[in-house]
């Protein structure tokens, strides 16, 4: 699917294969309608749920499968394979003397006090890590030529030892990939059935540990992804689908299937990336320059900054953490991802008293099994959802549109036994406490995330999605002193919608340290000529129109001697004119923004050269009008709702499907839709905009700490 084709596309389906549900969104541009669907994920064979879901949604839309022009697809298969460690048996061929890079890692403890902490096992066990004679210098000169016989012997031993995939990672290959490419070629020729991943093929950057992790993680998930994609393609063909099947990448762009087949590691964050893209879309709809996309579900909350309609990017991601949400407890990867944070705060997060008698919430989650106490599925520990029910935020009768009845009395018992009795709190205080603590956890993480970028949370708008997002958005905004909120219509499906809003994009990078003084257009061309050629070819292969492709070039740049680099965009004409002065200026500006000062007497050096080539985002007009009911039925009644500053107050409860564009509501108010409930305090004014999104202003925007 590319720019040119997307302009003609009429019917497209976005599919998000999650841990519990497979979400689908169908957009029919011709009729201007959107349909949504949900299937239970079929873990044995995810393509089964996809095909059933596609058939069903197409039927519900009154179409036939041959009328579908494109399917964009994302999956948690990659990330889950690394968490559950059920990928393929991988062999590693590496430089002599460096057999244990994967096992030695950073040599640090991620928990300063736990003498018995669990460290992640290396993806490749030691017997399957073999070394060969070869050596590059840090500048890319060949110090020792590649011993080709050793490569062939090693590969044969690995295959005999059970390797289903092979990774090749040589020291300093980022500076010169010659040996890696040759070794891969030799192995592929000798063992055509074994997929080979080179480290420069997936992460051509300095730092051997991260690069080798990325190469081996890619090899680890690759056979599984290939089998899965082959099956999916086949099954969709059988159904009669003749359109383009593409995938969502972690960088927020879409790509041809071949990318998923060769570099599946690039799909590791496809779901969260889609959520961020949809956040960017809503920011754009309301002309919001600075937004925080806030997505809170059952086990996690994700926060992503959207600046001028674009989410920011990062080049690192930690996969397969052995302690949930604990930085340093996983495998560090070098992959282009949307820059977002994810913390263990969701509706299912469990509350408990710690050994100092303080109230803690999360990161443990009751998830869907056994679930919160109020689900009556065996959960005994009070959770955030239970607290939200007690505080009047959720309706016992209208949860998931009434499909699940919530049990208030069970929650009362659990709160009493697990929290109130031991802490001296009343039941309601405990419930209010759970809500406040989880909001505080999210606020602290968001504050840190924004502060690390040298920015002030107060200028942001909060865009809340996910089942629990709209319930907690008001409290979170008050803590962050954010004065404006957007609650999109259909907040529960917004992530799958992101698949249809994303454009094809390709990232590439070259690591080569160059002093800024020596950074001439000629030096830059050495990096960029090949990168842009490959990127354009890849996009065109996916159906893009060459003229529509936009190139964005940036560098990682730092003061010489400093370990931290910042990413700065290169000026538009950098391949033709001297860009050194302009680049130094933008570097110093960015540095000052981040650190409050800049330095004048230290030379500056470029560490890495980056390229993002992308096509324009497809235009999608969202029309949810079809789901509206009579506006006279909008007001459902009243209910007592708790707010920190006022205690329990009477609030109007609205059916969101009855709120038409232009409506204005004064808080306190509860606005219910099928997948979520928005709760707004007494100091809010809620307007329904032309897209049926709720735009909420908090009076004077500077609330007290809850």
């Amino acid at each position: 699917m590319g720019y040119k084709m997307s302009a003609n596309l009429r019917v497209r389906i976005g599919v998000d294969v999650g841990g519990t549900f497979t979400d689908l969104v169908l957009v029919d541009d011709r009729r201007g309608v959107i349909f949504t669907g949900k299937q239970l994920t079929t873990h044995q064979d995810p393509s089964q749920a996809i095909c059933e879901g596609v058939e069903r949604i197409v039927r519900e839309a009154g179409l036939t499968i041959d009328q579908v022009d494109g399917i964009v697809h994302g999956t948690t298969l990659v990330t889950n394979t690394l968490i559950e460690r059920n990928g393929s048996c991988v062999g590693l061929v590496t430089t002599k003397g460096f057999r244990d890079v994967l096992e030695v890692g950073h040599e640090m403890r991620y928990d300063l006090y736990d003498l018995f902490m669990e460290k992640p096992e290396p993806i490749v066990p030691r017997p399957l890590r073999l070394t060969v004679t070869e050596r590059m210098s840090a500048k890319g000169e060949v110090l020792e030529p590649l011993n080709e016989n050793e490569v062939l012997e090693s590969a044969a031993r690995l295959v005999d030892g059970g390797a289903e995939a092979i990774a090749v990672s040589f020291l300093n290959a980022f500076a010169n990939p010659l040996h890696e490419l040759r070794a891969a070629e030799l192995i592929a020729r000798a063992h055509p059935q074994i997929p080979v991943t080179t480290s420069v093929g997936v992460a051509p950057e300095i730092r051997e540990y991260e690069r080798t992790c990325t190469a081996t993680a890619n090899a680890y998930v690759l056979p599984k992804m290939r089998r899965y994609i082959t099956l999916l393609r086949h099954k969709l063909l059988e159904l009669g689908f003749g359109g383009t099947l593409s995938v969502m990448l972690s960088n927020g762009g879409t790509a041809a299937l071949s990318v998923a087949e060769n570099a599946p590691i690039q799909m590791i964050e496809s779901g969260p990336a889609a959520g961020a893209i949809s956040g960017a879309h809503y920011a754009g709809l309301s002309d919001t320059a600075h937004a925080v996309a806030f997505d809170m579900g059952g086990t996690t909350a994700k926060m992503c900054l959207i600046e001028n309609g674009q989410p920011e990017h990062s080049q690192t991601f930690e996969a397969g953490r052995v302690r949930r949400f604990r930085q340093g407890s996983g495998i560090p990867l070098k992959v282009p991802v949307i820059d977002l944070i994810e913390i263990g705060a969701g509706g299912g997060s469990i509350a408990r008293l710690d050994r100092m008698g303080l109230l803690k919430v999360g990161p443990d989650s009751a998830s869907s099994e056994p679930g919160p106490v109020c689900y009556r599925k065996g959960g005994e520990d009070p959770t955030v959802t239970d607290a939200d029910l007690m505080l009047g935020y959720l309706s016992p009768e209208y949860f998931l549109g009434g499909e699940l009845e919530l049990d208030t009395s069970a929650v009362e018992g659990a709160l009493k036994i697990k929290l109130a009795d031991d802490s001296g709190l009343t039941m309601m205080e405990a419930a209010a406490g759970i809500h406040a603590v989880v909001n505080n956890n999210m606020a602290a993480a968001t504050r840190r995330y924004i502060a690390e970028k040298g920015r002030d949370p107060r200028k942001y708008t909060l865009i809340a999605t996910g089942g629990a997002g709209p319930v907690h958005a008001y409290g979170l905004a008050k803590e962050l002193k954010i004065g404006r909120l957007i609650i999109p219509f259909g907040a529960g499906v917004s992530s799958a919608l992101g698949f249809l809003l994303a454009a094809p994009a390709v990232n590439d990078v070259r690591s080569q340290i160059v002093l800024l003084d020596q950074a001439t257009p000629e030096a830059a061309r050495v990096m960029y000529d090949q990168m842009s050629e490959t990127a354009v070819a890849q996009l065109i292969a996916g159906g893009a129109d060459r003229d529509g492709i936009v190139m964005k070039s940036s560098v990682d740049i730092r003061y010489r001697g400093q370990g931290f680099d910042v990413e700065v965009e290169l000026p538009a004409n950098f391949l033709k004119t001297d860009f050194r002065y302009a680049l130094r200026q933008s570097f110093e500006e960015k540095y000052k923004l981040l650190f409050g000062r800049h330095i004048t007497d230290v030379p500056v050096e470029i560490v890495s050269w980056r390229l993002v080539a992308s096509c324009p985002r497809p235009e999608v007009k969202l029309h949810f009008e079809g789901q509206q009911i009579d506006r006279r039925e909008a007001l459902k009644g009243k209910r007592r709702v708790y707010f920190a500053q006022s205690g329990f107050v009477e609030a109007n409860v609205y059916n969101r499907y009855g709120l038409s564009a232009g409506t204005t509501i004064q808080g306190p108010a509860v606005i219910e839709e099928r997948e979520s409930t928005a709760v707004m305090g007494p100091d809010t004014t809620i307007k329904v905009d032309q897209y049926l999104n709720l735009i909420v202003e908090i009076e004077d925007g500077r609330g007290e700490l809850v």
């Binding site: 403890r109 504050r447 007497d601």
Partner: protein, 550 residues
């Protein structure tokens, strides 16, 4: 405990204060110049109340700095009276006794004002890339040789740089840009901390931190007392032998006593101080005695001075654990890191399940290289790497993992890109971990070539060349350190040497001690160790009685 704070507001307030210290640390980390701070994590940030009690510290800080800042700021107040502290001031020192035990660390504090009142102090400690003198070396005979010493002075006065001080530093250190850059990174951290506290007070409506501070300390103290009280009363002794300096071997003797909810560590019987830089000032000794106690007994509650209220540390004046000023102290970690072994040797006699055997990474083995690259650029790099962790009653020790310090290893590719060093080999060292029911973590071997055109200076800061890390409860010792040239010549383990261009250096980082009798080790685990090359077939046969069946 007071009734003023309920479990909810206390949780919210405390996590917010920790967050402020973390934000401050993030600012320091991002703006720091040197790889010492960035790659090796050698810094900490602290928030204190107006009486210099610690409220919170950054989550990932270095254990040695625990509890050091509060007493440093109390000393600052003796040098600069409270009335003379103004908004925007930043006061620094690197005096070993006031600060953190050696000159390369800068200790900085700044006052936090709210509604025109002094409500607290922000503080930070960071290891500078250089402090003049001999560089970071263990062989000096006097403190003055070890570098420039700054007594508490305003580095920044009401927001303005004290140019006299910056010039003094600039003209007395190598790499002045990096040094001043790192001190300014600390300044950034102080500002972030102060702004965070002011916002916090505004949000909560509190006027100061007094009540909150008392409550948090009381809670931390109560948690530690509960953990100590759970152990039986009694008194146990244990000791650790160390290489010392040349003929002056050193010895650490610990008597650990538990009475009710109080714990005392008395180091009477430890070696007298020596005339080289491995003396550990009492503050540093106390920090490295407290840290292993917290790991073993109360690992979950957040860091706060209250935790150590029930813990007493004594060391005789004039010993290597409490030297008489002005003793040389630059390599004090070589002594301080050994305390864990002596302390766990005591605890193992009563609660063996809570401790680990001695680690090959304690003390750290550091190699500091300096000289010129082939393009004539000057370079100064520390090779960060670690030996293996000691085994415990429930698991093998991890290979190559820092403990009790938590300094990470940098990337070899990065090292090679900024220095004329070529690393030929960096792999796990077979048979380096002590045998036992659980095996000590493996150490590693590093082999590197000097590729410069001119000689390279090297300073070694190492121990364990004579006495390996011991095992516990029948576990055997790990390996010993080795630092040698290709012809087998050993370098002096605590001195400066010069390496000729083209020379090859071999460094062995020791493995950790084993835990429990090797006879009890699971035979399948031994076979796996042989298959993985962690243990040779020969050693499996000799130590575990497991023969090759192939």
């Amino acid at each position: 405990m007071s009734d003023v704070f309920d479990p909810i507001s206390l949780e919210i307030y405390w996590s917010r204060l920790i967050s402020i210290a973390d934000e401050s640390a993030a600012a320091l980390l991002r703006t720091a110049f040197s790889t010492v701070v960035r790659e090796s994590n050698d810094f900490t940030t602290v928030l204190m109340d107006a009486d210099c009690n610690c409220l919170s510290e950054n989550t990932a800080g270095i254990p040695s700095f625990v509890g050091m800042l509060p007493s440093a700021v109390r000393s600052f107040l003796q040098h600069i009276p409270r009335e003379e502290w103004r908004p925007g001031d930043c006061i620094i020192t690197n005096d070993p006794e006031i600060g953190s035990g050696h000159l390369p660390d800068i200790t900085m504090a700044a006052p936090i004002f709210y509604k025109d009142r002094l409500v607290g102090f922000s503080g930070s400690i960071a290891h500078l890339p250089d402090i003049g003198g001999a560089g970071w070396a263990g062989d000096c005979r006097e403190l003055v040789e070890e570098g420039l010493r700054l007594m508490p002075v305003k580095f920044i006065s009401e927001g303005r740089e004290n140019t006299y001080v910056t010039q003094l530093i600039r003209h007395n250190v190598r790499a002045p840009d990096q040094v001043i850059g790192d001190i300014y990174a600390q300044v950034s951290a102080q500002r972030v901390c102060a702004a965070g506290v002011q916002q916090f007070l505004e949000d909560t409506g509190m006027d100061d931190l007094v009540m909150l501070s008392a409550e948090l300390r009381a809670r931390a103290e109560a948690a530690m007392r509960k953990a100590i009280a759970a152990l039986p009363d009694g008194s146990w002794t244990s000791s650790v032998r160390a290489d010392g300096f040349d003929a002056d071997e050193t010895f650490i003797h610990c008597r650990l006593t538990i009475r009710g909810s109080e714990l005392e560590m008395d180091f009477e019987g430890t070696s007298p101080q020596i005339g080289r830089g491995i003396n550990s000032v009492l503050k540093y000794t106390t920090a490295y005695a407290n840290y292993p106690i917290k790991c073993a007994l109360d690992p979950e509650s957040p860091r706060n001075e209250g935790s150590f209220q029930p813990v007493t540390v004594r060391a005789p004046l004039g010993s290597i654990l409490n030297p008489v000023f002005p003793a040389p102290v630059a390599a004090r970690q070589l002594t301080g890191h050994l305390l864990t072994g002596a302390i766990y040797g005591c605890l193992a006699q009563v609660v063996p399940d809570l401790v680990v055997a001695e680690s090959g990474s304690a003390p750290t083995l550091r190699t500091v290289f300096g000289g010129r690259t082939r393009d004539g650029q000057s370079f100064n790099q520390v090779l960060f790497a670690s030996g293996g962790l000691g085994a415990s009653s429930r698991m093998d020790g991890y290979a190559c993992t820092a403990f009790p310090s938590n300094t990470g290893a940098g990337s070899i590719e990065v090292l090679e890109s900024v220095s004329p060093l070529l690393v030929r080999h960096k792999e796990l060292a077979q048979d380096s971990g002590g045998a036992g029911k659980f095996r000590g973590g493996l150490g590693q071997d590093i082999v590197l070539d000097i590729l410069s055109d001119s000689p390279v200076n090297i300073s070694l800061l190492s121990d364990r060349h004579k006495y390996p890390p011991k095992g516990l409860l029948g576990g055997t010792s790990g390996s010993k350190s080795i630092v040698a040239l290709s012809d087998g010549t050993r370098l002096h383990p605590k001195s400066r040497s010069v390496l000729k261009p083209g020379e090859t250096l071999h460094i062995h980082f020791p493995g950790g001690g084993g835990f429990g009798s090797p006879a009890e080790r699971d035979r399948a685990a031994v076979k796996r160790d042989v298959e993985f090359g962690y243990v040779s077939q020969d050693a499996a046969d000799k130590l575990y009685g497991v023969q090759d069946e192939r």
